[in-house]
């Protein structure tokens, strides 16, 4: 086929969340559409898994072509199998770019897939663009813990990129008319070289920090585990006004084992975008700020007036949290 006439395709790996399209996938689709539009191309969606009907029904409104790979063997995420299936699909679809969310699973899948395809891979992107002159893909990602922003040119076709959650707006337009094609690659269980022994859920209720209206986070400044009780009190009173108020933490509290990993916010943890983010005893390393930059309003409570968190906060209180938070809670009880 004439290379210049071939329609450029952006292939998105769709992830599910409680039987629906995950919010991160909607964000990835937003960028996919942007890239596809600047190349007059198409957005293709790959849905891989078991019992994916609900996801397929929803995804057709956002993608031009949908590829459905359904099998009981795909019920659990296995990077080896998923990357093999996507490699086969990539050979079928011949995309310009393969996109997926920068989730825990895809931190493993992305590199495995890129290696199989001999493709360039840029992880944790916050923006994607097409160079108008050369039609090359430009991927922007924070580096050096978020202190520097770099834009990389991707030379390979396909390129592979993972997209940081909560960095971009979810797709809005509903194009409709997406056509679903079954794609059935050979699934070779023996290619899985790590055996899943057990899955441990540390918290029964899904924390879903990414969907919280308010996040109250503690950091290194919380000296005693009892200090978390003050934060819980604050969360409790804020629940009078907001539906979803969640506890978060910066890395030191996770390293001390006081807060579970899935509540860590920052570069290597969750990304949040609440109406209100309250940082208590958090100094504000660039790594932590990476996770909270899209919060609408940030309140910082810290005893150190030089703490960098104040440069990213809308409101600041310089003081010991042991004094400030109980007084805040007391007054909020009157006001709410």
């Amino acid at each position: 086929m004439n290379e210049s006439k071939r329609v450029k395709k952006v292939l998105v790996l769709v992830e599910g969340e409680n039987g629906k399209v995950a919010s991160v996938t909607l964000e990835v689709l937003g960028l996919a559409r942007k890239v596809a539009d600047s190349l007059q191309g198409n957005v293709c969606a790959a849905v891989i898994g078991h019992e994916i009907r609900g996801i397929l029904k929803e995804i057709i409104y956002f993608a031009d072509d949908v590829y459905s790979t359904e099998s009981p063997l795909l019920a659990d995420f296995q990077a080896d199998i998923y990357s093999s299936a996507l490699e086969d699909l990539s050979q079928e679809v011949n995309p310009f770019l393969i996109l997926m969310g920068h989730t825990l699973n895809n931190r493993e899948l992305g590199p495995k897939l890129a290696y199989r395809l001999g493709a360039e891979l840029i992880t944790d992107c916050v923006d994607l663009e097409v160079d108008q002159r050369t039609n090359a893909l430009l991927c922007t990602k924070p580096v050096y813990g978020g202190n520097v922003i770099a834009t990389f040119k991707v030379e390979s076709e396909p390129g592979v990129a993972t997209v940081r959650p909560k960095a971009t707006e979810p797709i809005r337009q509903s194009k409709g008319g997406g056509k679903v094609t079954d794609f059935n690659p050979v699934i070779d269980k023996s290619s899985v070289r790590t055996l899943l022994v057990q899955r441990v859920i540390e918290e029964e209720e899904n924390a879903s920090l990414d969907k919280a209206d308010v996040v109250v986070s503690g950091g290194r400044g919380i000296k005693e585990i009892e200090g978390l009780k003050e934060l819980q009190e604050l969360i409790h009173v804020l629940k009078r006004r907001f539906d979803r108020v969640e506890l978060g933490a910066s890395r030191p509290l996770v390293d001390r084992g006081w807060v579970i990993s899935s509540r860590q916010i920052g570069l290597t943890g969750e990304k949040v975008a609440p109406e209100l983010y309250i940082a208590v005893g958090i100094s504000g390393t660039s790594q932590h700020l990476s996770g909270i930059l899209r919060s609408k309003k940030i309140i910082a409570i810290n005893s150190d007036p030089k703490a960098p968190i104040f440069q990213s906060a809308d409101y600041g209180v310089i003081g010991q949290y042991e004094d400030v938070v109980p007084a805040l809670v007391k007054k909020l009880k009157e006001l709410l």
Binding site: Y144, E202, N206, K297, Y315, G319, A327
Partner: protein, 264 residues
């Protein structure tokens, strides 16, 4: 049981915990310039080393530490020996400058293949400079080793490595037959305390150094990423400070302000 051979790959990076204004950009040269912060071992690689040393506490183990670069700061990397690693090996060559993940994995795996005796390879989950998180998995692919990522715990049982890997809302326990590669996350725990005395004791310990010729590296395969733009990012909001004395009063005033500003 024969001695277990663990290789820990460590990278020298400018201290990622350094203050934000220490990271500057030379936009012309498209390079990050760091001012006034020392190089350190990438913190996640320190976690990987700690995981190796804990295994060494339980089993007869030799821990080898491997680092690659154009010019490495030996005193910084010797910290690994002081912590309890048995051997430090450097892959140093002017061609090993600013390599992309693929080329880095190619050089490291070329060394590993030549030695060929490692049961377990540990790397940090990602490096504190470019934050790609790719090299470890590429090494595993090149060597065709099974790989487990984002470990919060690493144990050995017989000829298998048992890994608790992070997943949404918890963790998965996975099991892989060695030789295998594991990328390690901070949940494993910080590298043990190192005394000045321990650092002095290893300051003269011999270090093996190999270059591209020793490793028979095909220089044509060494590539760098194409950076087309680079800028320093320092958010500067106008923070409205809540006044009051003593601190309890500030807490009260914050609540009032939240109401006034329509936050609640």
């Amino acid at each position: 049981m024969k001695q277990l051979q663990i290789l820990v790959c460590i990278k020298q990076v400018p201290d990622p915990e350094g203050p934000a204004d220490a990271f500057k950009v030379d936009a012309e040269a498209k390079k990050v310039v760091h001012v006034g912060i020392p190089p350190v071992i990438n913190p996640f690689d320190e976690n990987a080393l700690e995981a190796a040393l804990r295994i060494k506490n339980q089993f007869d183990t030799k821990v080898t530490v491997l680092s690659m670069g154009e010019k490495l700061a030996q005193p910084i990397l010797r910290k690994a020996l002081a912590a309890g690693a048995d051997e430090l090996i450097l892959l140093e060559d002017s061609h090993f400058k600013d390599l992309d993940s693929y080329s880095t994995a190619y050089v490291l795996s070329s060394f590993i293949r030549r030695i060929g005796l490692y049961d377990l390879i540990l790397t940090g989950r990602q490096a504190g400079d470019w934050d790609f998180g790719v090299t470890g998995l590429f090494i595993a692919q090149m060597l065709q080793f099974p790989a487990a990522t984002l470990a919060r715990k690493v144990d050995i049982r017989g000829d298998c490595v048992i890994v608790e890997k992070l997943c949404k809302d918890g963790y998965e326990v996975v099991n892989a037959k060695m030789p295998a590669l594991v990328t390690v996350s901070n949940e494993v725990g910080e590298l043990r305390y190192i005394s000045v005395r321990a650092l002095q004791a290893v300051s003269k310990k011999p270090i093996k150094i190999f270059n591209a010729v020793d490793l028979e590296i095909d220089l044509h395969k060494l590539t760098q990423r194409t950076i087309c733009n680079l800028f320093a990012f320092h958010p500067e909001k106008q923070c409205k400070f809540v006044e009051g004395e003593p601190s309890q009063e500030k807490g009260k005033n914050l609540a009032t302000l939240m109401k006034k500003e329509g936050l609640i």
